[in-house]
């Protein structure tokens, strides 16, 4: 046991791969979540505006293409296309940045459908009440519909971000040194497959459980404001 720890983590400061990898995984996930939320909300608002009013026809079409392509292809393929084709000519681009872009764009498509279902789940009477008070379409969305939609879909959104965190583990396909890649590197030097892989699995598990707990608390707090 002590020997395994020594070979995998102590020699040559190999633990640093883990720490650095964890930082990269968290960095990619964090910024991808932000891009995903922004993109997702924008797409959801465009799509539900089209559904409700028939306006924004062209934007709605573009959104549909985006959703179909992103949800119809594997995220690893998207990641590689963005790295090798879209940024192919500028090879000195930061791989972390490519990862953030790819996972953010990918996540945006799933967030969009979650948020749209949330908007649609808010009773149309809420919309009419807002408009009848004099709120514009956008103001009604912002002050009345979206807060309720957000509350309705918080569990689904949380789940999406847990999926995203785990999906970043394919970053190694473009040689990003994330947490999973760190295990890979250590294993190739220590000639021990068990310790690095199980350690990384445990770290993912702890991250996911912590995140789930935080979400649960947040949900409860949001719900208690309604009783």
């Amino acid at each position: 046991m002590a020997d395994r720890i020594y070979r995998n983590f102590i020699v040559d400061d190999r633990w640093k791969y883990m720490v650095d990898g964890l930082a990269v995984t968290l960095e990619i996930t964090f910024f991808a979540v932000i891009i995903g939320i922004i993109l997702g909300f924008v797409v959801a608002i465009i799509r539900s505006t089209y559904d409700k009013t028939g306006k924004l026809k062209i934007l709605n079409f573009i959104c549909n293409v985006y959703l179909t392509v992103i949800r119809g292809t594997p995220v690893v393929v998207q990641l590689m296309i963005i790295y090798f084709i879209i940024f192919g000519s500028s090879r000195d681009i930061s791989k972390v940045l490519v990862g953030i872009t790819a996972f953010g764009i990918n996540s945006g498509a799933y967030v969009a459908e979650i948020v749209r279902s949330g908007i649609m789940s808010v009773d149309n009477g809420q919309f009419e009440a807002g408009r009848s008070l004099g709120f514009s379409y956008i103001q009604t969305m912002r002050y009345i519909i979206l807060p309720q939609a957000f509350k309705n879909v918080l569990p689904a959104l949380g789940n999406e971000f847990i999926v995203l965190l785990k999906e970043t583990s394919v970053s190694g396909y473009i040689a990003t040194q994330d947490l999973t890649k760190a295990a890979d590197i250590i294993k190739s030097r220590s000639y021990d497959v068990y310790t690095p892989l199980l350690t990384v699995a445990a770290i993912y598990l702890i991250l996911v459980m912590t995140f789930s707990k935080l979400l649960e608390i947040m949900e409860r707090r949001l719900r208690s404001s309604e009783r």
């Binding site: 009773d123 009477g125 809420q126 009419e128 009440a129 408009r131 009848s132 008070l133 004099g134 709120f135 514009s136 103001q139 002050y143 009345i144 807060p147 309720q148 509350k151 404001s225 309604e226 009783r227």
Partner: protein, 247 residues
């Protein structure tokens, strides 16, 4: 143009849904300032559609709605601005469930009229006092009874200081024992000369409070008169028939 005391002038209003549903067939009517107009008629006769066209919650297919001298059908008219002056009360209350009663009432005055929180809350509390619900200011909608919700919905609209109040069957979703408390609030409003357009099945209320009653059937105004004449001296078979069924 708002002379003659006319607040809303409806001219040849037409509304069709799709190809075949003619909800309104060229309806013409005036709503005068300070007047209470009750709209009665069988279900599906276009009462709600008429009311909802007044603030363009429903987009009319044709005709004109002149409110305060401004044609609401004109593309250049900022409808949001005019809706602030037209309060609306719905059958199903439509309170915002994620906000406290006070927040329900102060949101629009603060965001749309630039009132400070303190000012908006002071006005909201005064209105709550008037409808006997001041102690529920911090409650949430699902903690209230239907009658209380509807009274809140009325004062929420009043917070914007509207020039007219539009009611679409405000008591139809209520248990019978709660109808009175809502009608009383509406009667008080009428006494203060609020202009009101009320779609209702409460014939007693129409008879007692209305200055004028409009009877609609099949998307048209069939009879329009004082409540006295409508209820004791109906002229058309249609109205006689309708009254025979509901009274």
């Amino acid at each position: 143009m708002s002379g003659n005391g006319i607040l809303i002038q409806v001219q040849d209003l037409v509304k069709t849904f799709g190809e075949s549903v003619h909800a309104l067939n060229s309806v013409t009517a005036d709503i005068r300032r300070g007047e209470v107009v009750c709209i009665i008629g069988p279900s599906g006769s276009g009462k709600s559609t008429f009311l909802r066209c007044l603030n363009r919650l429903e987009d009319p297919t044709g005709g004109h709605i002149i409110f305060d001298g401004v044609d609401l059908m004109d593309k250049k008219t900022n409808i949001d601005l005019h809706r602030q002056k037209m309060g609306m009360v719905f059958q199903h209350f439509n309170l915002f469930p994620n906000m406290s009663i006070l927040k329900n009432m102060t949101l629009a005055p603060m965001k749309l009229q630039g009132k400070s929180k303190a000012e908006a809350e002071k006005e909201a509390l005064a209105l709550l006092e008037r409808v006997g619900l001041a102690d529920r200011a911090e409650a949430y909608p699902n903690q209230l009874s239907g009658g209380q919700k509807q009274r809140i919905a009325i004062v929420r609209a009043l917070c914007m200081k509207p020039e007219v109040m539009l009611f679409d069957e405000p008591t139809s979703a209520l248990d019978p024992e709660m109808v009175g408390e809502v009608l009383n609030v509406m009667k008080d409003l009428a006494k203060e000369h609020m202009t009101m357009v009320v779609v209702t099945h409460e014939m007693g209320f129409a008879r007692e409070v209305a200055d004028r009653v409009i009877f609609m059937a099949e998307g048209k105004i069939v009879e329009e008169n004082t409540p006295e004449e409508i209820f004791t001296n109906p002229r058309t078979e249609r109205l006689k028939n309708f009254l025979g069924k509901v009274i």
